[in-house]
């Protein structure tokens, strides 16, 4: 790989960290013009930048407004690069269905997890907010998801998470999916009680959890 490639990847990464949409687009255009592999540019440029932004968030250098702006820059660069992805370039991605459970419309946390999951190479189907349990199950079956990710900020809607797990069990397909939960009132204890596969305290933790949960499948493949 040439020096120019690496410089461009660094520019993409910095553009994300610096929340600079215009620079992300400019660098992405240059990647395309020079015929550099778009998949690598996303991986080593935009995603790497988002990962750095996530670290800043962990360290309380960045907060939610900064992360949203970083993700805007990442997606701006992504829009330029995506049409140039060679379909055989990327490995089969793990699939995640994500959404905020029924009765809740707080979705900042869910959006961050979605962004970070996409950044980490997951194929994410975002159902949005206020989603009834049955829709999570239907969608997971439909797309053959590996992970169902449930979010809520309100104690009033926590029960919906248990309902998803119950429905999976009732349909005899519980072991086909990993269920992960997160949000303000959720705890590891709650995750254990409803029989979820994992709990994440924040977006960065959710990525670690999702990776860990799909890792055995990868080793077996």
């Amino acid at each position: 790989m040439g020096q120019i490639d690496n410089e461009l990847f660094k520019r993409l990464s910095d553009a994300v960290v610096d929340m600079d949409e215009d620079e992300a687009i400019a660098a992405a255009n240059e990647v395309v013009e020079r015929g550099i592999d778009a998949y690598q540019a996303i991986e080593k440029g935009l995603s790497a930048g988002m990962e750095r932004a996530g670290q800043f968030f962990d360290e309380e250098e960045y907060f939610i407004p900064e992360l949203l702006m970083c993700s805007d820059a990442m997606y701006a660069g992504m829009d330029v690069l995506k049409p140039h992805l060679r379909s055989d370039g990327a490995a089969e991605k793990h699939k995640v269905v994500i959404g905020v459970v029924e009765g809740d419309t707080h979705d900042i946390g869910k959006n961050l997890v979605k962004i970070m999951l996409e950044t980490s190479g997951f194929d994410v189907t975002d159902l949005g907010r206020d989603i009834p349990p049955a829709r999570f199950v239907e969608t997971a079956k439909e797309i053959g998801a590996n992970i169902i990710a449930l979010s809520t900020l309100m104690t009033t809607t926590m029960d919906g998470m248990g309902a998803v797990v119950r429905q999976l069990s009732e349909e005899g397909i519980r072991d086909r999916f990993k269920v992960i939960v997160g949000g303000g009132p959720i705890s590891q204890g709650f995750a254990d009680r409803i029989g979820a596969d994992g709990y994440a305290v924040n977006a960065a933790d959710a990525i670690r959890l999702a990776r860990a949960l799909v890792a055995p499948a990868e080793a077996a493949a």
Binding site: G103, I108, F190
Partner: protein, 348 residues
């Protein structure tokens, strides 16, 4: 269980004056759980101030805590300014859509009139009725959602977060009109014989940085607190989630009592600002109060006592945030009973 020897008003007055008390003040922050006390649906509270008062007074009488807070959800003022709120039949209301979806409509936003708009008149009615029934023995407060948080409900939290970086002046505009609503509502609450109780969920370090708090939240919060002080009322300020980096600013804004969320460290708060403000907190509302057994509540309450019972400006044993609707009564009793048993001076 030993019953209380003093009324909440007597207790808080004596505690404030440094006189002997029977036990520390204790406030499990009961919101819609009050509906369960009188066997009605949460949705029945909508448009029915009399029912809110009946439920809140009944909950106070059942548990014997020290402050009544008239509260159903965070959205009452935003709704009065045009936000759409969904009211499930028997669950807490939630924000369905912000007041404006297009920033071009920004100029259309107006401060709410608490005597006329949305559910505000009914909430004021609830406050008047509660004061009428039990105001001689217990303080009744009315929940006010502070400027920055209310602003997030006017345009949506994502949009507000981006505006902070892209068009700060728009955020200031949204906070300013929210403040006008807050001041009008706080004034009406005081006229109703109550004290405003300030809640500012979005000003948390779980969402914005301390620097952003200084720039966008603090100036309006301070003006709101100045107004309440000008009307001779003390101010309790609750900010959800992590707050350690803004405790100093919360004190500087003028709060008399900080309500510390379960995501923040009560012991640290005592060391950092306990010499200047009263503290309250911070038993976990869902993990302990909703999902725990009474013994877990007892242990969590004792842990809070150990951390802050000797805080120089005083301490109120409380939940870290509003209690979930389905919190078992036994757990609320357990919190109060633990504080009663500990007595005063608090036994180790």
């Amino acid at each position: 269980m030993s019953r209380d020897q003093m009324t909440p008003l007597e207790r808080l007055a004596a505690y404030g004056a440094g006189a002997p008390i029977d036990r520390l003040p204790c406030v499990p922050i009961v919101g819609n759980t009050a509906a369960r006390v009188i066997g009605v649906k949460v949705g029945d509270f909508r448009g029915n101030g009399a029912l809110i008062a009946q439920a809140q007074v009944a909950a106070y009488r059942l548990f014997g805590y020290d402050i009544i807070r008239i509260f159903t959800d965070l959205y009452t003022q935003a709704e009065a300014m045009g936000a759409k709120v969904s009211y499930p039949e028997d669950e807490t209301a939630f924000l369905a859509a912000p007041a404006i979806t297009d920033l071009a409509e920004l100029d259309r936003l107006r401060p709410a009139d608490p005597q006329r708009d949305g559910q505000l008149p009914q909430h004021l009615e609830a406050m008047r009725r509660a004061v009428d029934q039990v105001g001689h023995e217990v303080a009744v407060t009315g929940a006010v959602t502070c400027p920055f948080t209310n602003a997030s409900f006017l345009v949506g939290a994502d949009k507000l977060a981006r505006l902070m970086m892209r068009s700060p002046e728009m955020v200031h505009h949204l906070c300013e009109i929210s403040l006008q609503t807050n001041i009008a509502y706080a004034g009406a609450i005081i006229d109703a014989g109550c004290t405003p109780s300030l809640t500012d969920a979005m000003s948390s370090m779980s969402v914005i940085s301390p620097r952003q708090f200084r720039e966008f939240s603090f100036p309006y919060l301070k003006r709101l607190i100045d107004y309440v002080h000008g009307r001779d009322r003390k101010v309790t300020l609750h900010i959800c989630g992590k707050t350690s980096g803004i405790w100093e600013a919360m004190v500087e804004a003028g709060a008399d009592c900080l309500s510390i969320d379960n995501d923040a460290d009560l012991g640290e708060a005592r060391i950092a600002v306990g010499d200047r403000v009263r503290l309250m907190g911070n038993v976990h509302p869902s993990e302990v109060m909703l999902q725990g057994i009474p013994d877990a509540v007892r242990r969590a309450t004792l842990s809070c006592l150990a951390q802050a019972k000797d805080s120089p400006k005083g301490f109120i044993v409380a939940s870290g945030c509003s209690l979930p609707t389905e919190t078992p009564f036994a757990n609320i009793h357990a919190m109060l009973d633990t504080v009663r048993e500990a007595g005063w001076p608090v036994k180790n």
